[in-house]
Amino acid sequence: MKDARPLRAPADAPGSVPNAVEGETDGTARRLWLRCLAYAHPDRLETAWNALHEPPAYALLRPPETGLAMIRARMGGTGRPFNLGEMTVTRCVVRLAGGQVGVGFVAGRGQRHATLVALFDALLQDESRHAALSESLITPLAAEQQGHRAKAAAKTARTKVDFFTMVRGE
């Protein structure tokens, strides 16, 4: 899209600093919740959205749009970059009535997913809602996702080879 103008400076701009981490300016907390939201099942986010007491009014600054991202990799894993191939991605940017701008960027073609990520990203920047949403949505999502990872890692570990050496004689 040609009208892809930057909407706002990064999270260190006044008024858009997430309050989860005091004085953070590099988006650490925001990166964490965006990650949780991106990995969450869209139905889960839909349910959370429907459960909000007062669903806020919002405007679509960038309506959900599906496109491509070129995936970069590095030669040998750590060398110079090269283009490996593309993947589908979907993005959406919303602004709440309170002025918070939420950005949703997800792998795949889930337009509703990207919209919900953007909405929750904006809501989590709202100081009056942050704590409750963190507790009811982000914390459990993070725990579940961590659980999935641990489970997958444990499953994989069961195929780890235990070498033993046959000893001849005594």
Binding site: R72, E86, M87, R149, A153, F163
Partner: protein, 398 residues
């Protein structure tokens, strides 16, 4: 000369109707869902994503169904679809050192840190076709324990500390060539390994710029990653049999999920938007040395979408073979000839050019036919004339 020919519409419509019928098969048998294809024919999906050069499991599964299982046709459908989408972003380079591995083996070190992890593999199976459909594959057989209740999205995890790359062990001792500098103009040596300068710091992108020769290693790796697995495998095999031998050892093969990070312009910092499955192969190849450089092993690299070990390994062999000029090796074999490899490995291109032979060439052919008739007539005429002359000659001699 091309002449517009009309009149086939009705036949074409009917042919398409029959194609749809054939695709569906016996209506008494339930239609496959894209989800079923994704879940149960996952490696076909991986191959279509790799050769279609687009990571989207659902799209690849649909393409396979539409192509009736013709994976090259499916890759073509995926390539065609991608042209309808705008490019929204370029990801941060994926970090395969932080891959959440599902499989990781090395043929060079038995007791490598992190261990040999087999994961789901065909290796060690007996390749006996199971006609009884017993066991977990039976239609109503018992599910393997802990049937996956994972979320749909792959969940990356793990950390660099868990599974260090095998080649780093050699790297620490200086026994293998270092990875080329990480591109940021480090040491002012921003070149494509074979002396061709790297334009800016942007790696080549075949989806934007056609290949030009000599192609840098960046362009070569991109082309190999999406090249036809059969073509790549055949070339790799040829190097093993002696056509450009590189004495390879499988240093490490790993398969698993890596996180994808993008820097949205609205944010200015990277955010993780999901994860993809990749298969990576670090091949260790015959050592080489040069003036001032002690002998050391060299590298071949393979990286492919999905779980695709054969392709990743083949890619790493062909990558190394094409690096011949860097090491002053004679270029004598097909796999070392980058024009040969890169211009013929794309199955969408090669299939298109091959199949264009089906298009009407009526006029071309008529021209050839009439030329041939003329030649034959001329020859006949000359024969008759010669015979006549011969008769006369004989007459004279008699």
């Amino acid at each position: 000369m091309y002449v517009a020919v009309k009149g086939g519409e009705r036949a074409i419509d009917e042919a398409h109707r029959q194609l749809a019928e054939k695709r569906r098969g016996d209506p008494a048998v339930p239609r496959l869902s894209a989800r079923q294809i994704g879940e149960q024919l996952g490696l076909a999906v991986d191959r279509v994503m790799a050769e279609g050069a687009l990571y989207d499991r659902d799209l690849a599964a649909r393409a396979i169904r539409q192509a009736m299982g013709d994976l090259i046709e499916a890759a073509f459908l995926v390539r065609a679809y991608r042209t309808t989408l705008p490019r929204l972003a370029v990801t941060e380079p994926v970090d395969t050192n932080r891959m959440a591995v599902g499989r990781r083996v090395s043929a060079t070190f038995k007791d490598l840190p992190g261990g040999q992890i087999l994961g789901p593999t065909f290796d060690y199976t007996h390749r006996l076709l199971d006609l009884e459909e017993s066991g977990p594959d039976a239609p109503d057989g018992p599910l393997p324990e802990e049937q996956s209740d994972d979320a749909d999205e792959p969940q990356p995890g793990g950390s660099a500390a868990d599974t260090p790359k095998v080649l780093q062990l050699l790297d620490h001792e200086g026994l293998i060539e270092p990875d080329e500098a990480a591109g940021d103009g480090a040491g002012g040596e921003a070149e494509n390994g074979d002396g061709t300068p790297l334009e800016g710091n942007e790696p080549a992108d075949l989806t934007r710029e056609p290949l030009s020769f000599p192609a840098g290693r960046d362009a070569r790796l991109q082309a190999l990653a999406r090249s036809d697995e059969g073509f790549c495998l055949g070339l790799a095999y040829s190097t093993q049999r002696g056509f450009g031998r590189t004495h390879p050892f499988a240093g490490e093969i790993r398969m698993g999920t890596v996180a994808i990070e993008i820097v949205p312009e609205e944010l200015g910092f990277p955010v993780e938007i999901g994860a993809i499955t990749l298969t990576e192969c670090d091949m260790i190849n015959q050592f080489t040395g040069a003036k001032g450089v002690p002998p050391q092993f060299t590298r071949g690299y393979g990286l492919v979408f999905g779980h695709s070990e054969r392709k990743a390994m083949a890619m790493s062999l062909v990558d190394r073979a094409m690096r011949a000029p860097e090491f002053g090796e004679p270029e004598t074999a097909p796999a070392q000839d980058q024009e040969f490899v890169l211009l013929h490995g794309d199955n969408v291109e090669s299939s298109g050019f091959l199949q264009h032979l089906k298009l009407p060439h009526y006029v071309d052919f008529q021209a050839e036919l009439s030329l041939l008739r003329d030649l034959r007539a001329e020859l006949e005429g000359r024969k008759t004339a010669d015979a006549a002359a011969g008769d006369e000659g004989e007459g004279e001699n008699a």
